[in-house]
């Protein structure tokens, strides 16, 4: 086959050929590592969002409480805010280590996935074509 014919073949055939160079066990492992990374990132994001929401809610309640106390008109409302802040702070205290741990795991999984893809790309070659193929099958 000439070089021209080789280049003229449809991209999907080139993709199958190049991916076919990789051991199926490695393909399966890369898929698993990337899925694990995405799952950990998702978990981390959920916990991070929850943490942010609680922090923002505490800030809002603190402002409301200060406002109520300044006007000296609504001690009951201020007490209510204080009680809710106390509950939220307990929840935040419990959430923070989980959120930190999840972020740490997601970062580690991201580094592993990145290093594995880079190594595999170097191992199989294929230059920018292989990079496009990796991208097209979601290996990024």
């Amino acid at each position: 086959m000439t070089a021209v014919n080789h280049l003229a073949r449809p991209p999907e055939i080139r993709r199958d050929e190049l991916i076919g160079k990789i051991d199926p066990a490695i393909v399966a492992k890369v898929n698993r590592l990337l899925a694990q990374r995405d799952q950990l990132r998702g978990q981390s994001r959920i916990l991070s969002d929850q943490r942010y929401e609680i922090i923002m809610r505490i800030k809002t309640l603190q402002n409301q409480m200060e406002s109520s106390l300044r006007s000296r008109e609504d001690q009951v409302a201020a007490d209510g805010c204080k009680a809710e802040i106390a509950v939220l702070e307990v929840r935040l205290g419990a959430l923070e280590p989980r959120s930190d741990k999840a972020a740490e795991q997601a970062t580690a999984a991201g580094r592993v996935a990145e290093a594995v893809l880079k190594t595999l790309h170097q191992e199989v070659g294929g230059g920018s074509v292989m990079q496009e193929i990796f991208d097209s099958i979601g290996w990024r």
Binding site: V30, L33, L40, T107, G110, R111, V112, V116, T119
Partner: protein, 164 residues
């Protein structure tokens, strides 16, 4: 955390620390002496090639009557200051070796390794094998449905089962 993985990770961490120490180490006294010898030998070669071989001019009268300069030697020293250093070293080889060795040794510190390249190669090979063992253990646990997280700095070749 699985006890075997913890043990493997502790050993890997120790080897990594040792790799850093070896990587930052200087040569031992023998290695320093060898490097000093090599440097002096190079200066001797430069002096012989670029200065003393030009000395044949001195067997003749100066090119220009009344001149005390021989153009070949003059040009060498004019355009190649490195030769002046080489000639100086050539004429004082043992003294330069001794003084240079002492100066290098004083700045080398206590962290000395005889053959860094071999030491690092051996440590990396040992770490690679341990990382392969770690990956095998992780895969075994994953198959059992146990969630184990890989270290972010794991060797990707060990993860993929590729040769080091």
């Amino acid at each position: 955390m699985n006890a075997r993985i913890e043990k493997l990770r502790a050993r890997i961490a120790r080897i990594k620390a040792e790799e850093q120490r070896v990587d930052a180490a200087t040569l031992d006294d023998t290695g320093i002496g060898r490097q000093v010898d090599q440097w002096v030998t190079k200066q001797v070669t430069i002096a012989e090639d670029k200065f003393f071989t030009q000395g044949f001019e001195l067997a003749h009268e100066p090119k220009y009557p009344g001149s005390s300069l021989w153009p070949g030697l003059r040009e060498v020293l004019k355009h190649d200051p490195e030769v002046a250093l080489a000639v100086t070293v050539y004429l004082n080889q043992e003294a330069v070796k001794e003084r240079l060795f002492q100066a290098v040794k004083a700045g080398a510190g206590d962290n000395q390794v005889a053959d860094k390249a071999s030491a690092l190669q051996a440590l990396r090979a040992e770490r690679y094998q341990l990382e392969c063992d770690e990956e095998a253990e992780i895969c075994k646990l994953e198959e059992q449905g146990v969630e184990v997280f890989r270290r972010g700095d794991m060797d990707p070749r060990a993860i993929l089962g590729l040769p080091a």
